[in-house]
Amino acid sequence: MNPSRPLATHVAVRDGRILGVGALEELSGWGPYRLETRLADKVLMPGLVEGHSHLMEGAFWRFVYCGYFDRRDPNGRVWPGARTLAEVLQRLQEAQAALADPTQPLAGWGFDPIYFDNRRCVREDLDRVSTTRPVGMIHASGHIINCNSAALAAVGWLRSGIDHPGVPLGTDGLPTGELKGPEAMMQVAGVLGMDRTVLAGDKAALRLFSRLCVRAGVTTATDLASPLPDEALPMLLRTTAEDGFPTRIVPLLRLMGGPEPTILRAAALQAQGSDRLRLGRVKIVADGSIQGFSARLRWPGYYNGAPNGLWYLAPEQLQQALALALQHGVQVHVHTNGDEATDAVLDGLERALQQYPRPDHRFTLQHCQLADAAQFRRMKALGLSVNLFANHHFYWGDEHYRLTVGPERATRMNACATALASGVPLAIHSDAPITPLAPLFTAWCAVHRLTASGRTLGEHERIGVADALRAITLGAAWTLKLDGEIGSIECGKRADFCVLDDDPLALPAMQLKDLPVWGVVQDGRIFAAAELPTD
């Protein structure tokens, strides 16, 4: 990523920053040095930047992993995917053996029954795990919970008379135990110990999250987004400042309700951060999700005829928020999944910029999964960057093809090649914990566009390995306005490296996702994955 030294044998580091890159002989001109040889047989690339993740990934690991795919936990243990509902239930039963109190709740995460031949999980299934304790699992998508009868009873829902779209009923008139959407989920999530303060990330979650970052080669990661309550700030500042804390965290403040208080608070937060806790950016959520049919789509809408999704913020308020942010110099990232929501941002920003012109505002569209070529051209014209959800193809691409948007639009989703061709600065992301925090896997997804069933979804939108690696380093750094500090190995930048056992550019591209990560160097400090604390 450094054109003057695209490849080098040595890098000199002082005070956590890069003094120079080149041959040892070139660097020795900086004066006396100590030669660090621990990484002599490794490959250093710029520290990876995860431009869209959530600290929740750290919080989830205190619950039972119930996903279909293998997943590595913060301690480095790989949990094998549970390939049938019976395996999922067995895993919950095993976890239950460690619980002494028969009423203590048991919660799982990462459940993905779309791979179980559409066999729905109902409360009777989870009653086989326990009839005394609340038992439930949140889906990999984050949009659904399945729970047992005890969990329903705990919130007073094991009764007839409920009429709510998120709480389907069985033939007996009682809830089936499937709870869809935040409103239906929240109460039971609380009973299961997954309330929002837990999921937003406490100190323990932050530490677990940072260990996952080291294992994935990530040196800077976003928390997109957080309510960032005032009382949480000292904890965040203290924990990230600890000597052994290996990650730079960039939490974005979530805009809720009327825009003005959030924008002004973000402006005030800009001065309160530290090197390892970067504050003062805002995230806005414009619509829902495509697989949950809550994203706002333009004509002709959903392939299966589902009604259009929801506005999470009125387009007028969106425009007002963008204008205020431009006025006060606050950077904004906007979640749009559907292409109509993307249009609302494009229209809103166009008007807001006439009101408050601001060069290099660096506003970024997050997910932006359905954007077409014309929308990318408008992004370029308006100075927007984009962070596309490359991992989605692997996990839900087959569903998008079959059900949500249909074959044609599924092949253009997360159009990385179009973004690059249009000159829109590009990042790609995992949205961890929705999919695993692993930028090299995310790069592999953007390079191959393979679905779980093996279909290549949009050959024409595949990008090269070098472009994909740029998207998970300098590209993501750009979207955070940190590209002058991180994202490449260049004189003056932070000494943040992803340490690999092999060269990602020399390997067959299909192996990119399997490339072992040895650890990271962050601010000049070496963190080997194998030497991380475990618990």
Binding site: E183, Q187, R196, E260, N308, A314, P315
Partner: protein, 306 residues
């Protein structure tokens, strides 16, 4: 254990700028001694007169006269539970939806909490900009859905449209929201009775002039000793020709059992009376003066004698 009667919850919906906040403030000013609890998305959207605020307690404002105001942010159910657990419990909840919420969906949420009961779903519309909003490429469909889900549509800001526009708007609404009753108003000045349900009669002498009742609205009250077929009466009262917007009856049927009849817009339901019966049956109603016909109403009542 005494099971207390569910608290009625009226839902106030409508797109941004329709006048929801003005209406809520109007209702708070004319609470008439009722203990109201108002839920709003966030306080930023409901500027409350500081003089009214007696205490602040997290997301709860305690107002003079026993009313409270609560911001729900992204946890509506949590806030509803919090309010229903207050002691003494509020007599009536008013839920101000966000401008992009579907009021019908919000009303269905109430079925998740047995301590609460759906009351009126009132959707406000800005008479001046309604047609434009309803055709907007981003929110037109949403605005139309909001209207279609209403029991009552308050066509607000009618002072800003000319005389010829009102009937045209009403005709358009009859098509867009066939189930709803439409009531024109200005500055959200509605009779509080339209939104306040069971068990929330004002204390005598506490209600000031809350609205331009003499011009727009009319009310009626009957007391009678005879038994009625309450289900038949419920059907009869939904006839739009009667101009009724809301009615409540405490009625004795042929078997001597007492029941409560509640009419909101075109929705009417009859349930067993939870409390002690009154001496006489009673029916009160409020409607639009322009279509008001108490004689026809009395005739329907007669027709439904048991």
């Amino acid at each position: 254990m005494k099971v207390s009667a569910p608290i009625p919850v009226s839902v106030i919906g409508g797109y941004l700028g329709a006048g929801k906040t003005t209406l809520v403030n109007h209702l708070l000013r004319h609470a008439g001694g009722r203990r109201l609890a108002v839920l709003v998305n966030d306080f930023g959207e409901l500027p409350i007169d500081d003089a009214l605020i007696e205490a602040r307690d997290g997301n709860l404002l305690r107002l003079a006269g026993g009313c409270v105001c609560c911001s729900f942010g992204s946890d509506l159910l949590g806030a509803l539970q919090q309010l229903s657990a207050l002691s003494p419990p509020p007599q009536q909840l008013l839920l101000e939806c966000s401008g992009v919420a579907r009021p019908g969906a919000v009303a269905r949420t109430l079925t998740l909490l047995p301590a609460l009961q759906r009351d009126a779903v009132l959707v406000l519309a800005d008479a001046e900009s309604l047609r434009e909003r309803a055709a907007d490429r981003y929110v037109g469909e949403l605005v139309q859905q909001q209207l279609a889900e209403a029991d009552l549509i308050a066509l607000n800001k009618c002072d800003r449209i000319d005389a010829a526009t009102l009937p045209a708007l009403q005709a358009w609404l009859a098509d867009a929201a066939p189930r709803a009753r439409v009531l024109p108003c200005t500055q959200g000045r509605l009779p509080p009775e339209l939104l306040f349900g069971t068990g929330t009669a004002p204390r005598a002498g506490t209600t000031g002039p809350a609205h331009d009742a003499s011009q727009t609205f009319a009310s009626v009250s009957f007391e009678f000793a005879h038994a009625v077929d309450a289900q038949r009466l419920a059907g009869a009262l939904t006839d739009p020709a009667l101009g009724l917007l809301r009615a409540k009856g405490l009625l004795r049927d042929a078997q001597g059992a007492w029941c409560v009849l509640q009419l909101v817009g075109s929705r009417c339901q009859v349930e067993a009376l939870p409390g002690p019966p009154p001496a006489l049956s009673r029916l009160v109603g409020i409607g639009l003066r322009a279509r008001w016909d108490p004689a026809a109403l009395r005739q329907r009542l007669e027709d439904c004698r048991a």
